[in-house]
């Protein structure tokens, strides 16, 4: 018995990038001659995006596509280390819908929203508003961790500085990717009592808290932590390739022009918005 592979068969194919091009819904507004607007996005990362285009980044991409009269095509890839390098920078797409406004790996547009880290607690508890809340010394505190490069969300640092490591329960930002919405677990943990409070990035907390069967309370962390001096609010922009300033200009125009509609989409997803987005 032996296995034989013929010349040129699919057998020799190599998948470099887990990428697939999927035309989004056809839109009357899209000019048939215009090249599609290619967006790189995570296929399983609600509330930001998913493959059914149900996330708020999908909705805002639709809006951008309509404004540009270009069809939106998605290139799906999980956001892991190397995401920018292997998608946008490699030329596989034109646009990433969410990056910090100061992010240096891309050419960032002007920010289109600013959100904040938040505390998520149960309705029966008084809301938490500070990392110095004395209850945190005995509560179990859920935070998301990245694990990479000495990097972590600022809440992790604020708690470490207060020597509250033993209260921390870590949840990986990546979650269990076999699950729908892998980032949800830290919010579920507040509901089912695995933790007493969670300190989580606002868009994730706001969306999942609103979808939990039991009501939760979402309160912003202080904008700056007094001890670590780390920021807890971040302005979020769209990212394009460095060699594509003309697209950035177009996007900047849309962000200004359609500011109200973008804000409505974000509110629909319960994204906590703070201050000015710039």
């Amino acid at each position: 018995m032996c296995s034989v592979f013929s010349r040129g068969g699919a057998a020799a194919a190599i998948a470099f990038l887990a990428i697939v091009i999927v035309p989004a819904r056809q839109r009357a507004a899209a000019s048939p001659d215009a090249p599609p607007l290619r967006v790189c996005a995570d296929p399983n990362n609600m509330p930001f995006s998913n493959q059914r285009a149900e996330g708020f980044e999908n909705r805002i991409a639709d809006l951008v596509g309509r404004e540009l009269a270009r069809r939106v095509d998605y290139l799906w890839q999980p956001q892991r280390r190397g995401f920018i390098r292997t998608t946008l920078s490699a030329g596989h797409c034109d646009l990433i819908m969410g990056v910090p406004a100061s992010f240096e790996l891309v050419l960032a547009t002007r920010p289109y929203y600013r959100s904040t880290y938040v505390f998520v607690s149960r309705r029966r508890d008084q809301p938490v508003a500070s990392f110095d809340d004395p209850r945190l010394k005995r509560w179990r505190i859920g935070i998301q961790l990245t694990g990479d490069d000495y990097d972590n969300p600022p809440a992790a640092q604020a708690l470490a500085r207060r020597r509250l490591f033993n209260q921390v329960r870590g949840f990986m930002v990546y979650g269990d990717y076999s699950r729908e919405a892998p980032e949800r677990d830290v919010i579920d943990a507040v509901v089912d009592g695995r933790v007493d409070v969670a300190a989580v990035w606002g868009p994730i907390a706001g969306y999942f808290a609103a979808h939990e069967p039991k009501p939760l309370v979402v309160t912003p962390t202080p904008a700056t932590d007094t001890l670590t001096r780390l920021p807890f609010t971040f302005a979020i922009a769209m990212g394009v390739r460095r060699d594509n300033p003309s697209l950035r200009e177009q996007l900047n125009g849309i962000i200004v022009r359609r500011h109200g509609e973008i804000a409505r989409i974000l509110q629909e997803y319960h994204v906590p918005l703070v201050g000015s987005s710039s």
């Binding site: 032996c2 296995s3 034989v4 592979f5 010349r7 040129g8 020799a12 194919a13 190599i14 998948a15 470099f16 887990a18 697939v20 091009i21 296929p43 399983n44 990362n45 493959q51 799906w76 890839q77 999980p78 956001q79 892991r80 280390r81 190397g82 995401f83 390098r85 292997t86 969410g98 990056v99 992010f103 240096e104 790996l105 990245t146 694990g147 990479d148 490069d149 000495y150 990097d151 972590n152 969300p153 992790a156 640092q157 470490a160 500085r161 490591f165 209260q167 921390v168 329960r169 870590g170 990986m172 930002v173 990546y174 269990d176 990717y177 076999s178 980032e183 990035w201 994730i204 971040f234």
Partner: protein, 616 residues
């Protein structure tokens, strides 16, 4: 569960053209299955005794032998004639990613595992021109590609029970019938959905396949699993963090040092429950001592990487582990660095020899560490006999042999938000997973070393999976001394360097082979394959291959009875990935800060995928 990718955009590469009509005829098999590997090792230096057979014609396990020596008794190619070495065969694997690892050679066939998609290519050595007998294609889940931290490498296969056994990036282990390329079994060991991948090479001990996991950067929990060689069924699993029952610590656990003793240290040396994300993965090499029936391996960095979040020793990260080969029970452990603050994984090879040490025969374990120290331990009890620096190293001045602890330099410990400059070695270590060699004829360990240091700087906003976070920027660069890499010939008994062959441009990121011909082979990241004199380091021969070398040389006897040397040429891996066109050399903090140290590599090499075979 829904499928995330309905269809994969596939890129067919040159491999297809390399595949002619594949011959199915049964090839002559040398009846070598189960036969002893080797013979007498030749005159040994300084009372050194080999603990198991070494390679002497075939290359059947990742390191060639159980002792991780990468030494062959073949001596047709020797210092007096290596100048005449020439290319005999080249062929492409079709995958231009980092070619770590090494082929196997047995029964007149060479077996090559490619980087992802982890194809297994069987080449008939009785025919000229790299004649392919068959190719086995496992089609691992492509989602694993985005998860692997540092290129999609594979560190090679092992042979046992008529099967070629190796790991797939998507956290499976596969066994392929060596005769015909049919799949014998495939076992899911880890879960890519939580960030686990497999890149390490398995080792087969008796009827068990040992394999460890990768993915500490994604908060996984390290372990070794033992699979049944016949069926692939998992027999046991030993974790490196967590309660004693998970770590397989029982009454026979007898670490040498006080610091490594106590109940459930895999839990109590972490803040509550953080051991569950505790890293300490196993992606290097296993070695095995048949006399004591112990196997040895090193563990990776603790998770999460930020040390401020995990006060405590963080056991058993950055440790050398000795386990019973039948049960997996931990017999001793030695943690080289407690509470790692530098990403000093200790997954490096452990070389096993017996020698006179301090006036009496001892069973030694030699571990050239990422920390910049070569550790020599008594492998029966885990006692540290010496720890000496082999590259510029300043995070510690040395080790206290009474306590087993390093004498640390506190100013070189990293803390979030604190600028710490000039830490040597950098996170890539004074060496990485790329393995050393040992010659019993010279008594020297040949260590492929890096000379890099790093600055750990302020915070910057970063972003993953929709979440902004703050990270330190790490910048790596060439260390002091005017060189970047060095092949170090190290006397483990004296704890000193005997000679060094330096590389001005790049770290040495190739494995090393020593032979009874007193020739030492290794490669450079800019593509030179070199032979040097094992006793002096004098360069005897070199050949420029198509791409940078991050693989490990092997040597074997061909079906014609002649000695050959084989090496992969295909730049990649953590440091080598900077050569890829998709990685910008403009961002010094890219690829975990490695770009700063490697930015020139694009001028010297480009991705490749070639297997070279040399002969006289």
């Amino acid at each position: 569960m829904r499928r995330v990718f309905p269809r994969i955009l596939s890129v067919a590469l040159g491999l297809a053209t390399a595949l002619n009509a594949v011959s199915c005829s049964k090839h002559q098999r040398h009846e070598a299955e189960g036969a002893p590997l080797a013979t007498e090792p030749g005159p040994a230096a300084g009372g050194i005794r080999l603990i198991s057979d070494v390679s002497s014609g075939e290359w059947r396990m990742p390191s060639g032998d159980f002792g991780n020596l990468r030494y062959s008794t073949l001596d047709s190619i020797r210092t007096s004639n290596v100048q005449n070495l020439r290319v005999v065969t080249t062929f492409s694997t079709g995958v231009p990613n980092g070619h770590e690892g090494q082929p196997l050679v047995l029964n007149g066939t060479m077996y090559v595992v490619t980087p992802f998609p982890n194809n297994l290519i069987a080449v008939d050595l009785s025919k000229p021109g790299g004649a392919i007998r068959w190719i086995y294609e496992p089609h691992p889940d492509s989602r694993a590609v985005g998860i692997a931290c540092c290129d999609v490498v594979n560190r090679g296969a092992a042979y046992a029970d008529g099967k070629i056994i190796y790991s797939l990036l998507d956290a499976h282990v596969v066994a392929v019938n060596a005769d015909d390329g049919t799949e014998a079994w495939r076992t899911k060991v880890g879960d890519t959905n939580i960030g686990e991948t497999l890149t390490g090479a398995p080792l087969v001990i008796k009827d068990k396949v040992l394999i460890g996991n990768s993915g500490a950067e994604l908060g996984v929990r390290g372990y070794v699993a033992a699979l049944d060689v016949k069926s692939g069924k998992e027999l046991w699993r030993a974790y490196n963090t967590g309660p004693d029952t998970d770590v397989k610590i029982g009454p026979n656990f007898k670490p040498f040092y006080e610091k490594d003793r106590g109940k459930d240290l895999g839990v109590s040396s972490w803040p509550s429950e953080q051991w569950k994300l505790g890293g300490s993965t196993v992606w290097g090499w296993f070695s095995y001592d048949p006399e004591t029936n112990l196997f040895f391996y090193g563990t990776g960095n603790p998770g999460v990487w930020n040390p401020d979040l995990r006060p405590g020793d963080n056991k058993w990260s950055c440790s050398i582990m000795a386990r019973d080969a039948d049960t997996g029970e931990l017999r001793w452990a030695y943690q080289a660095t407690a509470h790692d603050a530098w990403d000093y994984d200790e997954i490096m090879e452990n070389l096993l020899v017996d020698a006179e040490y301090g006036g009496r025969p001892r069973k030694l374990l030699i571990h050239p560490g990422r920390t910049g120290f070569v550790y020599v331990l008594d492998r029966e009890n885990g006692e540290l006999l010496s720890a000496a620096k082999y590259q510029p190293t300043n995070w510690a001045s040395g080790y206290d042999l009474k306590t087993g602890k390093p004498n640390e330099e506190p100013s070189k410990r990293t803390h979030f938000g604190v600028v710490t400059q000039g830490i040597c070695p950098s996170s890539t270590g004074a060496k990485d997973v790329i393995p050393s060699s040992f010659s019993p004829r010279t008594g020297l360990v040949y260590i492929p070393a890096h000379n890099t240091c790093m600055d750990y700087e302020g915070t910057e906003a970063n972003y993953i999976a929709g979440t902004p976070y703050l990270g330190a920027s790490v910048r790596m660069y060439q260390g002091p001394g005017g060189y970047h890499g060095e092949l170090v010939a190290w006397d483990p008994l004296a704890g000193r360097k005997v000679w060094g062959a330096t590389d001005d441009k790049f770290p040495i990121y190739s494995g090393v082979l020593a032979t009874a011909g007193d020739v030492v082979f290794f490669g450079t990241m800019d593509g030179w394959f070199k032979a040097v004199d094992a006793r002096t380091g004098t360069e005897l021969w070199k050949f420029h291959t198509a791409s940078g070398i991050v693989g490990n040389p092997i040597t074997y006897l061909g079906p014609d009875g002649k000695q050959y040397v084989a090496i992969y040429s295909g730049i990649g891996g953590w440091m080598g990935a900077v050569a890829f066109p998709t990685i910008s050399a403009d961002d010094p903090e890219a690829a975990l800060g490695v770009v700063g140290a490697m930015k020139d590599i694009k001028k010297y090499t480009a991705p490749g995928s070639t297997v070279y075979v040399f002969g006289l």
